[in-house]
Symmetry: C2
Subunit: 186 residues, 2 copies
DNA sequence: GGTATGTATGTAATATCATAACACGTCAAG
DNA sequence: CTTGACGTGTTATGATATTACATACATACC
C-alpha cells in the first residue's frame, strides 16, 4: 500500500527511489510514495538501536511502524488501540512506554500542540526539528530548524538562560489546504 | 506583598518604578519587585478591553490577577481552586473560559509543554512570544521571539507552508538554577 | 543447565487536563 | 417589559497521562 503525504490521498504516488519527499522540506507536504521512507526510517532505527545497545522489542518496533505508516501525528490512545487489536497489552502504559522509548532514541517526536506523536523521518541526524502543523488537514511536517534554534539560543542567552531542548511548532496551512479548503473546512 | 521573579523569593526587591525586570529579557529571571509589573499589565489589559468593546468581568479580572500574582505558569485547576476558594464557580469551565478569553485578548499565554497558563507581561504589543521554561524551578520567562519567528517563517515558506501562529518553548535552566541546584534538584 | 540481575511488558487503579451541553442570571436595546 | 446576547454556574463526560505493582523475558555469570 502506498501511503501519501497528502492527507486526502489525492494525487498519484511518486515512487522516486530516493524519496526526497520525506526528507526535503520543500516536498514534505507533496504527495509521494511513502513506503520506503518508512522502511528506510525503520531500518535506520534498527541499526541505531543495535549500535547503542538498546533493544528494539516487538512492541516498540510495532509502534514505530504504526507511526511510520500513519504518516501523521497519532495520539497515544490511537496507537494503543492498534496495539491492543494486535494482541499487545491494552493499557495506556504499554503505548506510553514505547512512545517514550522511541522519543528518547530520536525515532519519534511528540507534538505538544496535538498531544500526539509522529515518526521521525531522519533518525540519527542532528535533532532539532520544527513542526509545521496544518490546522485544516492535521498533516505534520518537519522543517529544518537549525536557524530557528540558533535564533532562539541567542534570545535565551540574553537572559542567561541555558536552552537544553526546544519545541518549535507552527500552526497554519499546508500548501494543499491553501489552495483547496483553505478556510479550515477540509 | 512583593513578588519576586526569583522563585525562591531570595534576594531583595527592586522597586524600580520602570520595572525593567518584567519586560527586559536580560532581567526576566532576575529578582525584582513585581507588584507594579502586575498592576501595570492589569491596567493595560483593562484599557485594551474597553477599547475593544469586550468585557473585563470579575472572574476574568480575578483570573488575570491570579496569573499576574503567581508570576509563573499555573494549571487551569490551580486557577480554578483559587477561584473556588473566593466564591466563584468551582467547575473547570469557569477557569477555562476565563483563560481562553484572556488568551484571545493577548493577556495570557498557554504553555503547551506544561499544560499551564501564564500572564502576558506586555499585553497589546506585537505578539510573538518565545518561552524559556526552567526545568528545575519551573519559572517561565518570555523572550523576544521576532528573530526566531522570522527564521521559522523562512523555513516554513520553503515548504509552501503558511504559518499563522507558532509556539516556541525552550526547556533548560534559568540563571539561578545554573548556579544553585543546577542538576535539577531544586 | 541454573540462577541472579536488569529490563521490558501486562494490568489495575487513579490522576490530570479539557470540553459538551444545558440552565440561569444580567444587562442593554428596542 | 420582552427579547437577545453574553457571561456564569453546574452536571456529566471525555481525553490524556502516570503510579504502582506483578509477571515475563533476556543476558551474564557460576
Amino acid at each position: 500500500m502506498a501511503h501519501l503525504h497528502d492527507p486526502a490521498n489525492a494525487g498519484p504516488a511518486n515512487p522516486d527511489p530516493a524519496c526526497p519527499g520525506c526528507a526535503a522540506p520543500d516536498l514534505a507536504f507533496a504527495p509521494h510514495d511513502h513506503d520506503h521512507c518508512a522502511a528506510d526510517a525503520l531500518a535506520r532505527a534498527e541499526a541505531l538501536v543495535a549500535e547503542r545497545g538498546a533493544r528494539m522489542t516487538p512492541v516498540r518496533r510495532r509502534v514505530l511502524e504504526i507511526l511510520l505508516e500513519a504518516h501523521r501525528a497519532l495520539g497515544a490512545y490511537d496507537v494503543l488501540n492498534r496495539l491492543a487489536a494486535e494482541g499487545f497489552g491494552n493499557q495506556p502504559p504499554v503505548a506510553y512506554r514505547a512512545l517514550d522509548f522511541l522519543e528518547e532514541q530520536g525515532f519519534a517526536h511528540r507534538i505538544q500542540r496535538l498531544n500526539a506523536f509522529t515518526a521521525c523521518m531522519h533518525p540519527g541526524e542532528a535533532h532539532a526539528p520544527a513542526f509545521l502543523i496544518c490546522r485544516s488537514c492535521n498533516a505534520v511536517a518537519e522543517a529544518p530548524a537549525a536557524p530557528v534554534l540558533a535564533a532562539l539560543d541567542r534570545a535565551a542567552t540574553g537572559s542567561g538562560f541555558a536552552v537544553e531542548r526546544a519545541s518549535i511548532e507552527a500552526l497554519g496551512l499546508c500548501p494543499g489546504c491553501q489552495r483547496g479548503g483553505a478556510g479550515g473546512s477540509a
